[in-house]
């Protein structure tokens, strides 16, 4: 019965950890690829207000953002003042630019999906309604009716 002899000196063979890093790296790349970085740098503060009855926006490709808030860095504030401003894509804009913005955004989408676009208003909680209303009126003029008031999720009390 020496075939299955117990060898007291035999130890557990060391595991090869070399491939472990490969697996982890694969994870790493996966997460790096699926997470999208913010496309345009924001120049305005958009600390959106909280709400409880929120809906998720599906179809991210059919969402265009309109950011409204006061400039977010001290340098910009020195140059432009505290007043809230509109940012479309990666530049400041005026209320009168909205119609054109709507048109260009619609042009860049598929023709069948153009009317399903959502216009997401990312507005800072400290902004007054005046500028928001102006933007909404412009959106109506440009027949961009589907709007989303971007909020953060708050648990129900």
């Amino acid at each position: 019965m020496s075939r299955f002899r117990k060898d007291a000196k035999k130890s557990v063979p060391e595991l090869n950890m070399g491939s472990m890093s490969d697996i982890i790296f694969m994870f790493l790349f996966f997460f790096m690829v699926i997470t999208t970085m913010r496309e345009s740098t924001l120049f305005v503060k958009t600390n959106v207000p909280p709400a409880t009855a929120v809906q998720k926006l599906d179809k991210k490709s059919l969402v265009a953002n309109i950011n409204i808030g006061s400039p977010n860095t001290p340098e910009l504030r020195k140059k432009l003042g505290q007043e809230p401003r509109i940012q479309l894509n990666d530049q400041f804009a005026e209320v009168s630019d909205i119609v054109e913005f709507v048109e260009t955004e619609k042009q860049s989408r598929d023709e069948a999906e153009r009317n399903m676009m959502t216009w997401s208003l990312k507005v800072d909680r400290d902004v007054r309604m005046g500028i928001v209303t102006d933007v909404k009126q412009e959106l109506r003029k440009a027949s961009a009716f589907k709007v989303n008031y971007s909020t953060s999720k708050q648990a129900k009390r």
Partner: protein
């Protein structure tokens, strides 16, 4: 004879890449946008007159530049009361003549007669109203409508609104439309 190179200890490599992994996991958020969705009305044409609505069918909400609420000419101190007020106004369970008219109407999508409220919520804010308060009001209104829809869905389909099929959801939406009309804002504060 060539010297044998000692095997490198690669065990800590996984630690390093784990560190990187957790870093990316924490810093990058898959930012799904969320918020309150609304449909804006098409712009009014010059000769078009707004439809006449009976006074009892309007729940007028005014928000002034100090973020104070006035609901049907009574001040409301807590925004959170607005939800129950809205539900009461729309459903009008006791047939109160001062709340909205609820009419039994045949709704095609629903395929049966259902109580449809004629109530409209008129929301007017000032140019000086803060956006946060505006969202609070919109949030309360959305909560109210969600609850009414949920109740209706529970009663008729035995499921909550979110679990309905597409067709059922359409029917409920038809029976309980979100009728919020936003008037042009006042400009008491003067400044933009």
């Amino acid at each position: 004879m060539a010297k044998k190179t000692p095997g490198l200890n690669t065990g800590s490599m996984s630690d390093i890449s784990f560190l990187l992994l957790t870093f990316f996991l924490l810093t990058s958020s898959i930012n799904t946008d969320q918020g309150i969705q609304r449909r804006l009305p098409p712009p009014l044409r010059g000769d078009e007159k707004p439809p006449k609505v009976n006074e009892r069918n309007v729940l007028q909400i005014l928000v002034n530049m100090y973020d104070q609420l006035l609901v049907n000419n009574e001040p409301m101190n807590n925004v959170e009361d607005l939800k129950d007020r809205t539900i009461e106004f729309i459903t009008n369970p006791n047939d109160n003549p001062h709340l909205s008219e609820v009419e039994l109407k045949y709704v095609e999508e629903f395929g049966a007669v259902a109580p449809v409220s004629k109530g409209v919520i008129s929301l007017q804010s000032d140019r000086g109203t803060s956006y946060k308060t505006y969202i609070d009001v919109q949030n309360q209104l959305t909560e109210a409508f969600n609850e009414i829809r949920n109740d209706f869905a529970q009663k008729n389909y035995g499921k909550s609104f979110d679990n309905l099929t597409e067709a059922q959801r359409k029917a409920v939406q038809k029976v309980i439309p979100i009728s919020i009309s936003e008037a042009e804002p006042s400009n008491i504060g003067g400044k933009k």
